[in-house]
């Protein structure tokens, strides 16, 4: 169970990344997090794995409460999460398979089973043949798939994936998406931030939460959407639509 209650995150006084975010994600849900660049998707995920604490409001993840969580509890929590970081965050001085194995080692998994679990998950993402390469010897998409494999390997309760297909071609994207659907079908909640609206449109049974300027502007589970006057991104044609100024306005900070 994930619960955010009136959450705000200000990195500095004038940089408001999130405000008034309230939502609830149940075990087993599949949630897309969408929104333009800088709208706060990564920030929400960072609150969930507690790299950041909210400046206002409360976050509960699997029973751990942001305001009172101890370092030890946070470590325990993270072992039950699978996280795909937007910038991969692979350990630079370990091979692909050592990176994946590390996520198992920290949980104290029995050393005997580790190699086989690692090999299985690397095969799932199509990287079995590159298991012994270092991150900097892998292409962008291959690094991304190592990051995905690491997130999947410990059969997490929640999978937090930040733009996990940004460096993948369409076929690989389909593969990853299928993997996430499969793991979701086996009971894991998946929360995936993405810019790939095609994918979102295609998975019409999944829940979609849209952010803009740090606020939730659309949530497919709620009717009517929180800010009714906003035309959600999903309603627009994918590409080649009317050009209403190319760039999103900068987020309004409190001045």
């Amino acid at each position: 169970m994930i619960r955010l209650h009136d959450v705000a995150k200000e990195y500095t006084r004038t940089r408001v990344a999130l405000s008034h975010v309230t939502c609830q994600i149940k075990r087993g849900e599949f949630v897309f997090l969408i929104g333009p660049s800088g709208s706060g998707k990564t920030t929400i995920l960072r609150l969930l794995y507690m790299e950041e604490k909210p400046t206002h409001g409360d976050v509960w993840v699997n029973g751990v409460h942001s305001a009172s969580a101890k370092r030890k509890e946070i470590s325990q929590l993270r072992r039950k999460l699978g996280i795909v970081f937007q910038d991969f965050r692979l350990l630079e001085d370990r091979t692909a398979e050592q990176n994946v194995a590390f996520a198992l080692e920290v949980t104290g998994a029995s050393a005997a089973t580790i190699p086989q679990r690692v090999t299985r998950v690397l095969t799932q993402v199509g990287l079995a043949s590159k298991a012994t390469q270092m991150p900097r010897q892998l292409s962008g998409g291959e690094q991304q798939r190592v990051a995905i494999a690491r997130a999947l390997v410990n059969d997490p309760y929640f999978l937090l994936a930040d733009e996990p297909t940004g460096n993948l071609d369409e076929r690989a994207t389909r593969g990853v998406f299928q993997l996430l659907r499969d793991i979701n079908a086996s009971g894991t909640s998946v929360i995936m931030a993405t810019h790939d609206l095609e994918m979102v449109r295609r998975a019409d049974d999944a829940r979609t939460i849209e952010l803009n300027h740090g606020r939730v502007v659309f949530d497919s589970d709620e009717t009517p959407p929180p800010e009714t006057r906003y035309t959600p991104l999903l309603g627009q044609p994918a590409i080649g639509g009317p050009s209403e100024g190319n760039w999103p306005a900068p987020p309004r900070g409190k001045r």
Binding site: R71, K72, S75, L77, R78, R79, I83, L91, A103, V106
Partner: protein, 281 residues
């Protein structure tokens, strides 16, 4: 087990940083060791001199032997006194010739008086005690005169105090500088691995899991550094000792403590650096 493997892996991955750490510890302890060696030897030399702090009571010619023996018994029972020797006239002449080679010839004509040479206990040879003993010995009737090199004893005592103080001061300064350098070295190696550490935390490693390899690493480096320093100090000692000075080396307990200090520096340096780093992420 895992942590030990990780520690070795970390060293293998950053051989330069590891070497730097070991060299720094070794170098610091070596500098420290050299100064300690000098200090130990100065102390040794001073102890030799201090042992020679003596009160010499010149005995009138013709004093009966029994009186002298009785007095020696008395004096021996003074708490400050370690030893009393009777030096007769021939002994005094022989000693003078030995001590003052250049003036050999002079003494043939001279008759030196016999004396009681009173050695004080090591550590009790301070000026007050010496004066005290001298006064008491002077009260014997057969004692003509008492010599004890008043100023010289004062000077020696002052010298010892100052040498000890300066040695301690220099030693502490060196230790402080060593710890600063070692701390900074480990800090740098933690910073160099800051990204790795933060990633480890993000995938669920506890502080202990992250810290253990650093501590083991620090311990190993400390031991190796300490051994290297011992080797270098010993080499320096051998280089000087056999050639032209009679030096003493540290006793084994001191050596063991030195190496343990190296290990401690390694572990503490690692612990504090990693600790303060982990606090901040």
């Amino acid at each position: 087990m895992l942590a030990v493997r990780e520690a070795f892996n970390a060293s293998r991955r950053a051989p330069l940083l590891s070497a730097l750490g070991v060299i720094t510890i070794a170098f610091s302890l070596f500098a420290f060791g050299l100064f300690a060696l000098v200090a130990v030897n100065i102390r040794q030399a001073l102890r030799g001199v201090e042992e020679r702090v003596e009160v010499r009571a010149f005995v009138s010619e013709g004093t009966p032997a029994e009186a002298i023996v009785a007095a020696m018994g008395d004096i021996r029972s003074f708490p400050e006194v370690a030893r009393v020797d009777y030096v007769d006239q021939e002994g005094a002449l022989a000693r003078a010739r030995r001590d003052l080679g250049e003036f050999n010839d002079v003494f043939e004509e001279a008759m030196l008086p016999a004396s009681l040479d009173i050695h004080l206990r090591a550590g009790l040879g301070n000026p007050g005690n010496v004066r005290d003993v001298a006064e008491r010995v002077k009260s014997y009737q057969f004692v003509d005169d008492v010599r004890y090199g008043e100023e010289w004893v004062e000077k020696l005592y002052q010298l010892r105090t100052l040498a000890a103080g300066t040695g301690l001061g220099l030693g502490l300064a060196f230790a402080a500088v060593s710890i600063i350098i070692i701390g900074a070295t480990i800090r740098v190696s933690v910073l160099a691995r800051a990204r790795e550490i933060s990633i480890m935390r993000l995938v669920g490693a506890t502080d202990g899991f992250v810290r253990a390899p650093f501590l083991i690493d620090g311990f190993i480096k400390g031991i190796v550094g300490g051994l290297l320093a011992l080797l270098m100090t010993w080499a320096a000692y051998r280089a000087i000792d056999t050639r032209f000075l009679d030096l003493v080396f540290f006793d084994p307990r001191f050596v063991a403590i030195g190496i343990l200090c190296g290990a401690l520096i390694g572990v503490l340096g690692s612990a504090t650096s990693v600790w303060s780093h982990l606090r901040r992420i």
